[in-house]
């Protein structure tokens, strides 16, 4: 049943010098992008950047201000509406809830461009509708009343209706808005699958950068009336680009983690976290959320903790992973510790590169700094048992104790 994806490299949809918007007021200027068969392209940008306007122009709901759109090399203006409907289908943000329609009938409306003048369904039409319902995992919904479905189910059925047009290009305007996490993921998985198995080119506007970075083949960043970047998410979605795109000042997108970290407001004192190998990630987030300013180290630059800490705007003392951590770097960390109000030991695995970090904790204790340790004291090997620490078992306990002591 699955069609083989044609050789890549030839654009199914191409915009040349395209400006979209309204008369005398273009919203996005000079768009030059090509989209290939089976490709998932995401439009990202702040509200009002013109993502919807661009999609509406591609679907010919709006006339281009200037420039051309071609489909398989043909100018879109030369394609009759009825033919275009067999090439391109849309899922809009507008809520539709026609009464007295069961899901099967609703999806069958998508057969419109293929049926006769009274819209009678042939055997093949019915099969296509079934196939589309299967593709969005909504077969069991088919006799349900459309109006009675949940938002997530409706969205899947709307995708199925668009698929029933058997399009080569599918345009979706914020397909995951108003959906719960399960359906958000399900809809994205379905769309991803459609690209790969059916060779449909999907163009969607999304708000979740993290989802976009994981699902898209290419992304277009829309800001200030232009497409600032268009390319592979791995290259385009850098921390700096995403911050500029959304004017982040207290958030940061980590391209390594594919997620967004929220910086705290640092209204409380500065604490030093001795972490490593992922033991620090959740501690950093909790502390940042509570408003503590963060310093951390010494971390190898490829440590997960390092990415999270940087995302949260922490002061990081970092060392490249190829050599042992030298004494000078440890000394640097100690200077930092002396300026912090408390030190937290995340219970990192104290061996190898991070063995010497234990010295930091010891020194902190001798400096008279309060040291809180999440280390399991009973199970810890002898050489990592330290004195002068306040043991805590959980992060919530840690916060309570810190509240008292600082």
């Amino acid at each position: 049943m699955t069609r083989h994806i044609e050789k890549r490299g030839k654009s199914v949809l191409e915009c040349k010098g395209l400006s979209v918007g309204y008369k005398n007021a273009p919203v996005i200027r000079d768009i030059n992008i090509g989209i290939e068969r089976g490709e998932f392209v995401t439009l990202l940008g702040p509200n009002g950047a013109g993502k919807t306007t661009l999609l509406r122009t591609l679907s010919r709901h709006l006339q281009p201000v200037s420039g051309t759109i071609t489909i398989d090399g043909r100018d879109i203006r030369d394609i009759r509406q009825a033919e275009l409907a067999r090439i391109m289908a849309v899922v809009l943000t507008e809520k539709v809830s026609p009464p007295l329609f069961d899901v099967f009938q609703f999806v069958a409306l998508g057969r419109y461009p293929h049926t006769d003048f009274l819209g009678r369904l042939s055997q093949r039409d019915r099969e296509v509708v079934q196939r589309c319902l299967r593709a969005v995992h909504a077969e069991e919904l088919q006799s349900r009343e459309f109006a009675s479905l949940s938002d997530g189910e409706k969205q899947k059925v709307l995708v199925a209706r668009a698929l029933a047009q058997e399009p080569a290009i599918l345009l979706l305007d914020e397909p995951t808005a108003h959906l719960d996490l399960k359906h958000r993921m399900e809809v994205m998985t379905i769309l991803r699958h459609l690209c790969q198995s059916e060779g449909i080119a999907v163009i969607a506007s999304l708000h979740d950068v993290d989802i976009a970075s994981k699902v898209s083949d290419r992304v277009a960043l829309v800001k200030d009336g232009v497409i600032t970047h268009f390319g592979y998410p791995e290259e385009v979605l850098t921390s700096a680009n995403v911050s500029t795109l959304y004017d982040f000042d207290s958030a940061c997108f980590s391209s390594h983690l594919g997620s967004i970290e929220l910086r705290g407001d640092c209204h409380r004192g500065r604490v030093f976290v001795v972490a490593g190998m992922g033991t620090g990630a959740s501690v950093y987030r909790t502390l940042a959320k509570q408003g503590y300013a963060l310093s951390t180290g010494v971390l190898l630059s490829n440590d997960l903790d390092c990415f999270v800490a940087k995302g949260l705007g922490a002061e990081c003392i970092v060392h490249p992973p190829e050599s042992a951590i030298p004494v000078e770097t440890l000394a640097q960390a100690l200077t930092r510790i002396s300026k912090c109000q408390a030190v937290i030991d995340t219970g990192f695995y104290a061996s190898g590169a991070y063995k010497n970090n234990l010295q930091l904790i010891e020194h902190a204790a001798t400096l008279g700094k309060p040291v809180f340790s999440l280390r399991q004291q009973d199970t810890a090997p002898d050489e990592t048992r330290l004195c002068g620490l306040t043991p805590v078992n959980t992060t919530s306990q840690l916060l309570e104790v810190m509240e008292e002591r600082i």
Binding site: L100, Q105, L109, Y112, R134
Partner: protein
């Protein structure tokens, strides 16, 4: 496998419902025929079926024959034709505006007709056009209804937003009513009574030429509407989706408005503004057939409209006979509770 079985089952199911649809259609047609017979036979001069048969087949100069041919038959047919036409017109506009409380007069058709008729009935203009005689009212109503329709269609060609159009129609209605109200304040009592009665609609006094016009033009319009059933179904998802499915939305919008206004305008010019049939009947059809498929709803509303109008006309004549009640009062008595009940059951959301 399961999918195929389900599909086959669905096929059977739809076959089954198609069958029951046919049954409902036949029942409707039979009820209409029965009501028409009742309307003709019942009255101050009652007729037996055999006597009626005789009058129909071999009309003689007898009073009964005259009553049948001049009064009761045209009136019964007018009820059937006007009811069906108004209901289809209402359905069209409900689908176009995706709004359940829209009726054929929402765009000001009846207000335009009323305005022109008030000019004729309440002012001395009638004296100047006396040569038109009994046709003056009908012609004025036609001019008013189609004048408003021309404005609506012209606006629709420019305005894309259905809501804007709806509000413009409502505003035009208010304007026309304002003028009418001023005229009523200035007019003499006797004239006002006649005008108020006209405003409540009636199927009486139809001439055969009007019946033929209604039947001829009306059936042409209804057939055109039926040919639009497929794009009308797509319109249920809104203009944006309709466009994406390959519909020339602008042309369809003009066609919908033209057919709806032409039907409502023609009927209003002959029977006056008959309220509620265009609003309530499409909901009845939706509920009874439990579908939004316009391929079913168009014939269904046509028949339901005919049935309801005939029934209401009979009630208007029967309830307090020999006094005849105003038709719009009866249709409102009947229609308003239907709409309220449906709204309470949340079955009329469009």
């Amino acid at each position: 496998m399961i999918g195929q079985k389900l599909s086959a089952y669905r096929h059977d199911l739809s076959h089954h419902t198609a069958l029951s649809h046919t049954t409902i259609f036949m029942l409707l047609a039979a009820s209409i025929a029965a009501l028409v017979l009742l309307n003709i036979c019942w009255g101050s001069v009652p007729l037996s079926l055999s006597r009626l048969w005789h009058c129909l087949i071999r009309p003689d100069g007898s009073t009964e024959s005259l009553i049948v041919w001049k009064i009761r038959l045209p009136r019964a047919l007018a009820g059937v034709l006007c009811g069906g036409g108004l209901a289809v017109s209402g359905l069209l506009l409900q689908v176009y505006f995706r709004n359940p409380v829209v009726g054929p007069f929402i765009l000001g058709i009846s207000s335009g007709a009323t305005l022109m008729v008030s000019l004729v009935m309440l002012t001395s203009i009638a004296l100047q056009i006396a040569f038109l005689g009994p046709f003056a009212t009908a012609l004025a109503a036609i001019a008013g209804a189609y004048g408003v329709m021309a404005v609506v269609v012209a606006i629709a060609a420019r305005v894309k937003n259905g809501i804007t159009l709806l509000i413009m129609g409502l505003m035009m209605g208010y304007l026309c009513h304002a003028v009418t109200a001023v005229l009523m304040a200035l007019a003499e009592k006797q004239q006002v009574k006649g005008f108020v009665l006209w405003q409540l609609g009636s199927f009486s006094g139809f001439k055969w030429i009007e019946i033929w016009l209604l039947a001829g033009i009306g059936s042409l319009l209804v057939m055109s509407v039926y040919l639009m059933a497929k794009p009308l179904n797509a319109m249920l998802l809104g203009e944006e989706y309709a466009l994406s499915m390959g519909i020339d939305v602008r042309r369809l919008r003009m066609a919908i408005l033209f057919c709806a206004c032409a039907l409502a305008g023609m009927i209003t010019s002959m029977a006056g503004p008959v309220a509620f049939i265009g609003l309530a009947v499409p909901h009845m059809a939706r509920m009874v057939f439990s579908t939004s498929d316009n391929r079913v709803l168009i014939p269904a509303t046509l028949l339901f409209g005919a049935l309801v109008a005939s029934g209401c006309d009979f009630a208007a004549r029967f309830l307090l006979s020999p006094v005849e009640l105003p038709l719009s009062a009866i249709t409102a008595f009947f229609g308003a509770p239907v709409v309220i009940r449906l709204l309470m059951k949340k079955q009329v959301q469009l």
